[in-house]
């Protein structure tokens, strides 16, 4: 099945927004093995949209549209497609009820324009919109499938996953489900990861394995097709295990886990509190940790000690230590971790010091970072980073590396 994804909206052609819907839909279609051959963007112009549809019908079997389902006169996607393929627009009762209730709740007056949003193709499969007012729809006409989705990503994403994907799977005549598990990696790079699991990648067809690198972290999405979720998971499990046997040390979580959610979880299991002393990261580590709701019981607090004076005055770092080893040193990171742990009476102390750039700091090259971690009753452990990014990528990665090493340390507490 060849797919073309058509986004409708002049704001895309003006560069005011980026077509993230096409990449989202494409990534989900890749998982079910559907081939996307083209993305097209066209403005809110019925004549040009009609031409785009004609081109697409000649080169694809499934045409997926996003945008142009709104209540204003610019929104012409439904009307243009209906006229082109010769179907009537009829009001969908469920959608109309939803819209009426929306206005009642908001205590606002509903206009005729809003009623337009409840119109769907006669005989179409209505795709429920749980996060907005415009329903989606799917219809087949002369062997071609037309799937219409609203433009706002927070409406399109759940609708595509929960409504359009099952519709597409049914087209194969099979009752199938798609299940994914995302393994999340840190420290290891995408190329290195792919190299090490190449034999596994080579032999996979179901489940498929898709590596993706984003913001310095790497993920592997394992996706299986099967008759039931249980069967799909039974296909995923052995692949998951095989990957872990090779590169398990770099995996910090799965699916929606983040570095900070894992740290919060592991601290919670021990009933531990955390304090941090941050130099180059200047609060990023704590701020990242606090993205987790409910961390007030775990985050004892911390200090930003950006310059030498603050390190000495606020955290009692020995002047002699700084003179001997320097501010960017294993000794300073260990001392920061230990002293902030004591100062905040926390179970765990983290110290981060380094040269973010753009200029060397205290004679140490840009990108050199030391992370200290103090655990209860143990000598602080330190880690050295040699980063090659710019100032702010170095600061970001330092904060994330600290979270990652903390996960490693907290996971290995009993060893």
């Amino acid at each position: 099945m060849k797919v073309e994804i058509i986004a409708v909206g002049s704001e895309l052609l003006l560069g005011q927004i980026t077509n993230t819907n096409a990449s989202f839909i494409s990534s989900r279609l890749a998982e079910i093995g559907a081939d996307v051959h083209y993305h097209t963007v066209v403005g809110d112009n019925p004549a040009r949209l009609k031409e785009v549809i004609e081109v697409a019908e000649n080169r694809a079997d499934i045409l997926i549209f996003s945008g142009g389902l709104g209540p204003t006169k610019d929104d012409m996607t439904k009307e243009t497609i209906a006229a082109h393929i010769g179907v009537e627009l009829v009001s969908d009762n469920q959608a109309l009820l939803f819209i009426e209730n929306f206005f009642k709740r908001a205590n606002r007056k509903m206009t005729d324009n809003n009623k337009k949003q409840a119109l769907v193709f006669e005989g179409a499969t209505v795709l429920e919109n749980k996060t907005g007012m415009a329903p989606g729809m799917a219809v087949e006409k002369e062997g071609k499938h037309f799937i219409l989705l609203p433009g706002p990503p927070h409406e399109l994403h759940p609708m595509f996953t929960d409504e359009a994907i099952p519709y597409l799977l049914k087209l194969n005549g099979k009752q199938e489900v798609i299940t994914s598990r995302v393994l999340k990696f840190y420290v290891i790079g995408e190329a290195e990861l792919e190299h090490r699991i190449q034999p596994i990648l080579d032999k996979q067809t179901n489940p498929t394995i898709a590596p993706l690198a984003t913001e310095g972290a790497v993920t592997l999405r394992i996706t299986a097709k099967a008759a039931t979720v249980e069967e799909a998971n039974a296909l995923i499990d052995p692949v998951d295990e095989e990957i872990r046997s090779i590169v398990g040390e770099f995996i910090y979580g799965i699916d929606d886990d983040t570095l900070s959610s894992r740290v919060a979880e592991l601290l919670g299991q021990q009933g531990f509190t955390l304090a941090a002393a941050e130099s180059l990261t200047a609060g990023l580590f704590m701020a990242e940790f606090a993205t987790q709701p409910g961390v007030s019981s775990a985050l004892a607090g911390g200090v930003v000690v950006y310059d030498e004076k603050a390190k000495i005055e606020q955290l009692k770092i020995e002047k002699s230590l700084l003179d001997e080893y320097g501010v960017v040193s294993s000794e300073c990171a260990a001392s920061l971790a230990l002293n902030v742990q004591r100062k905040f009476s926390a179970n765990v102390g983290v110290g981060i010091t380094g040269a973010a750039g753009p200029t060397p700091h205290d004679g140490v090259p840009v990108g050199t970072v030391w992370i200290g971690i103090a655990l209860p009753g143990k000598k602080p452990k330190t880690y050295k980073l040699l980063l090659s990014g710019n100032r702010n990528s170095n600061r970001q990665r330092s904060a994330r590396f600290a979270l990652y090493y903390l996960i490693q340390e907290l996971s290995n507490l009993d060893h």
Copy 2:
């Protein structure tokens, strides 16, 4: 002139990356009044690319391609277009020299594949690539213009602005320059801003004014076309002034200014140092400020006092004050600002306390935030926010509002 933007790359169709090049090119073209009618994405497939070119030639005058200029066998854009329009590929000496030097510097061996990157259309205008190895090119064939650019955004952006835009402007037969000035707003929303300057927006053709909302902040890009940069600026100046006369209080900077660069600049002018006490933001404010290089002289440091205990023990906030007014209060924010200013012997103290969510904090509704600012020899001033986002957007916005109010306070020091 009708434009179609064609991105070539299978990774786009697999959803591994998003077509940000199309939105970037579109926004730049909007500034010079060129009409973009379509975006198309096609994979690394010469036959399908050829068909896409044929469709595009029928509906556009200018075809702008991104991607597929690399050294691997997947990269077929140049070869496919050359065969289609009947031009020869010849080696560009300057591009070849650049590539050779790149490999010499990196002490790596250059392969024949890399030489392929220096091939350009015979007779084409070569568009210099200052940030990568593949040169771009522009050629006219039977009234249609073909502009080829590399895929990586950090290569495409400067090349498009510095090389492709002047090429396109010359097509009009006029020797013109385009100059933009971006006004940056905070606190005011996009709808409100547009409403207030509607009379100015309505009458503008040169310069044009383009509002854009990103990450909670709003910008206005004023763009003028003229024979020289000076003449363009002379067109921009009165519009800039007119806008400032209406909504100047919300402007925190221009062009590359950020909230933190403006704070750093204003602190620097006074020779002031800054300290912060952060509760819900947990370090975000200081981390955001420290995105600026060279802030170690200005950032005295600060504390993250996430829970009540830390506020009392680390910053000597009076228990009686917290009992009387609560943790999320004007009084607490002022006390945080004042006590952290003293603790770090800083000129300026900032305190941020609030309920980030998802659950109310200390009986205060989610989104309620107090920001305190203590300036030398003045009673601390406090600001209240009522934010409606989720936990992390509330935390982000609190940190940015604190920077914004600090800019306001530091700008009005003499008043």
